[in-house]
Symmetry: D2
Subunit: 292 residues, 4 copies
């Protein structure tokens, strides 16, 4: 019915147009009931809200874009740069941790950003990260053009206590360690040892961490613990209070305008490549987490 009206309208005299336009306007309110199908997904109060992103099909993506193995410094830099862009836009992220093609963003437990709506939080993080990844690509991959737009998926997880949150971050860092140790040996066997990838896989089957350290040292003279911390520990981003001196012009009453130097503190993002499983990091940056 509405359609016919609409069709008529295209050729209609002005009086009928009015009717048509009103019709659509009125129709809008008739349709607006569909709004009530949205459901509330507010996150439980007083819990840390973690948004974790993972690259989709990044195995293939990394091959197509010539990522160096086992670690590509450009890719890790771009990931961290994109994560910074997320934090810059959402100051309630108190800590972020990334490794490989994943990044986790921790919103402080008292945040009220987007009224704690899970869908808003995770889509905004994912969107900002994804657009930044493309936007900053050329800064990191100066020789390698981006072939197609990549995609990340995201999820939200809540943690009620500081212990739970720290265990979450420890879980991700332990995962980083395990994968990176494996990859370091694997690619040494392939790149320096001349094995095929399936031969390398075979060699590593059933080995424990100690065996892998041993193989690296005895066969390739690599001390795993001397590998760059960025690869072994991942990237932890937190806010630092940095002091800056800025020059301001002021004009006191009955005086000439003059310049004064004002010290102000500004939040800046700092990247760390250190252990976050133990106590030391958290003692040194005791302001990052709120108390239970």
């Amino acid at each position: 019915m509405l359609l016919k009206t609409a069709c008529v309208c295209v050729r209609a005299p002005r009086l009928q147009q009015r009717a048509f336009s009103c019709g659509v306007a009125m129709a809008k309110s008739k349709f607006e009931y569909v709004r009530n199908f949205e459901t509330d997904d507010t996150c439980l109060k007083n819990c840390y809200i973690v948004v974790r992103l993972d690259g989709r099909n990044f195995h293939k993506f990394s091959e197509q874009h010539g990522f160096l193995k086992p670690n590509d410094k450009r890719a890790l830099g771009l990931m961290a740069r994109s994560a910074e862009s997320v934090m810059d836009n959402m100051e309630d992220v108190c800590v972020a941790y990334g490794q490989s093609d994943e990044f986790s963003f921790v919103f402080k437990r008292s945040t009220n950003l987007f009224k704690r709506r899970a869908s808003k939080l995770m889509t905004h993080v994912t969107s900002q990260f994804s657009s930044s990844f493309v936007f900053y690509w050329a800064e990191y991959f100066t020789e390698q053009p981006l072939l197609y737009p990549p995609s990340f998926d995201g999820r939200v997880v809540l943690y009620p206590s500081n212990r739970n949150l720290r265990d979450y971050l420890s879980w991700r860092q332990a995962d980083c360690h395990i994968n990176n140790l494996y990859n370091t040996v694997f690619w040494a066997l392939v790149q320096k040892g001349g094995l095929s990838t399936s031969q390398a896989e075979e060699r590593l089957r059933g080995t424990v961490a100690g065996d892998k350290n041993e193989m690296l040292f005895s066969e390739f003279n690599i001390n795993y613990n001397s590998e760059p911390q960025q690869y072994r520990k991942g990237t932890t981003l937190i806010w630092n209070m940095a002091e800056e001196v800025v020059t301001k012009k002021v004009k006191p009453a009955n005086e000439n305008e003059k310049e004064v130097h004002v010290t102000r503190t500004r939040r800046k993002i700092a990247a760390h490549h250190c252990d976050i499983i133990g106590e030391q990091f958290w003692e040194e940056h005791s302001g990052v987490l709120e108390s239970d």
Copy 2:
């Protein structure tokens, strides 16, 4: 405790490294319980799943990037191109509708993509759309560089019946109409009528659709219904079955290799700028929706 071990390890002889590495590996399983804090957000079966994206702070974004008013053909083209990129990656999107800085993606009610997990669906759509928006920017804004990475937020809404889904799409198209009519008059008053933006707002206060049509016609000789359909109706994307003839080389037994022409049907995305409130569109494309 773990930290001390870790710290020691950095300077440790190889035997201790082994212990350390094992420690982290074992630690991982100790931390893995945090996985169980993830909650299931599977969407109710047999409902349409709609993911709607909205540009964040696009009022400011459009000003900073010199969008033409009331409609910028480049921006609308880029939005549609990004939406196509989403559909190409997720074939279970049966229809998508966009207008202004928003786009809605409708997953067919029987989809099992990502096991219907809401967070996966909405973040993947948002990510693909956002990275595509940056990736294809220069194709549409040839003169205007992108100044910073933009962001979109997303949400998921379920619709149990075809009527509900059609009403949702009608709601968005009625919204397009109302806003576009307003903007068309508003910017005519400003750009051609020489009014300030606040004067134009004042003129339009309390007018109904008919008044606006009248103003456009009598003052600016614009027949609103002759304005481009793309502006008045938004963009609807659906899958079309397109036939293509491809040439293949075959080699029958006991014969020489030869070329044959094979007709194959391929799904292609088609854009429409027409009314989707009435019956006609849905009758002409009856395969888009499944029956209740």
Copy 3:
């Protein structure tokens, strides 16, 4: 702190009491933030809301209360009576279906009872059913006292279409059939055939429905299809419009008071023990379900 005040207060002169009382009152508002930890569990609009109850540990309960096997008419009657009590209190239940120790209540898809909050709907149904089960016990179990308060658990499931809802009810009725056929043979073997329960189980292992019908007929001369419909089909409760004639006293102006007979329609609950898998029941009671 508050505690000390409170303790002092017990022995305190009146002036201090005032302070104390104010303290608690003010404290209340200090504590009230905990309200915001409640989450919204509104059911998706335009879906049927099914609340299904199951008896907890009813195997043991039925033994302790001497339920007759395979079916206890008193127990089935009490279940239906309790279900009626639920429907009487919640008129938006359009149909209820029960068998064995379970009962399902279907709220019409347009219901707005308790603002469609899942927790309110399921707990109110469960509560009303449970208290009714105890309240009406003695009407059905005239010789057997209730030994302890029984418990039922509940759940909420949404169905978007009439087909889905009908399939849900069919699922429950098919379950009734399968269990009842099994139980009928099982208890015939035990009660009439003199087998132990484990021997009866052994006899029935691997048999299909046809075998069981055969055993009943050839060994016990029981035609399964002549067994009471209540046992084979379960109990379906729907609303009937019943006409009643009531006598009212009226006093017209300038006349003496007189009695008149008024016909009024009242909703009454009707119990059916028939097939609800096929079309017939739904055609005969076409008002029970709303259209999609």
Copy 4:
């Protein structure tokens, strides 16, 4: 279709019965897909799970059953008895608190009862409470028969920290205090002061706690703080370890059977009517809550 088969079956020879029965059995698996419409409602790990029950329409219920005002000792006793029945059936309830017609049950944060499924937890609590309320009615209301089955609704709320949980319980106890003080004055004005209920309401409008204490003391010679603690503080139920000495018969080898006394500890529910806002109660019963 199936229906017709079914109808035929009633009068059918045995061979057809077999077909029919198979039909229903097979149909069951055809319908079983409806199971997948159930959604997961697992409660977030490491949070206290609170189930709160409220009497429905208890204002009317209490009038119809002649509850004494402002407090009916029988009703409070019955509420506590029903709550005990809940705790006896669910040992993971670490503390319960009740006042007026409400009762809250706190499941310990580490509970895995019903796999932490919210619907199971709240319906089981509600059901057990409701059936117990009817079952034990006559023990408390010896002269007043129960006129109809009452109903309670329930809800689930999660609290991530001990502070949040304690604030929840404080909120309920502060509510108890405020209501009970009001009711004590209100009913003194009505029962002893001879005011109508609306006059009493009028007198109390705008008064603060101190005023109410004053009125009680000066007009009715009631020291509010001497009122029974049960009324002023509500009822808190926790588990106590009680030692019991039991007599057992044992028969050592080569000896005659003899009786020995064995001491065993058993969990028993203890009721308290004291302040739970301050520290003292929690210090004295430090095992009730787990650490954060």
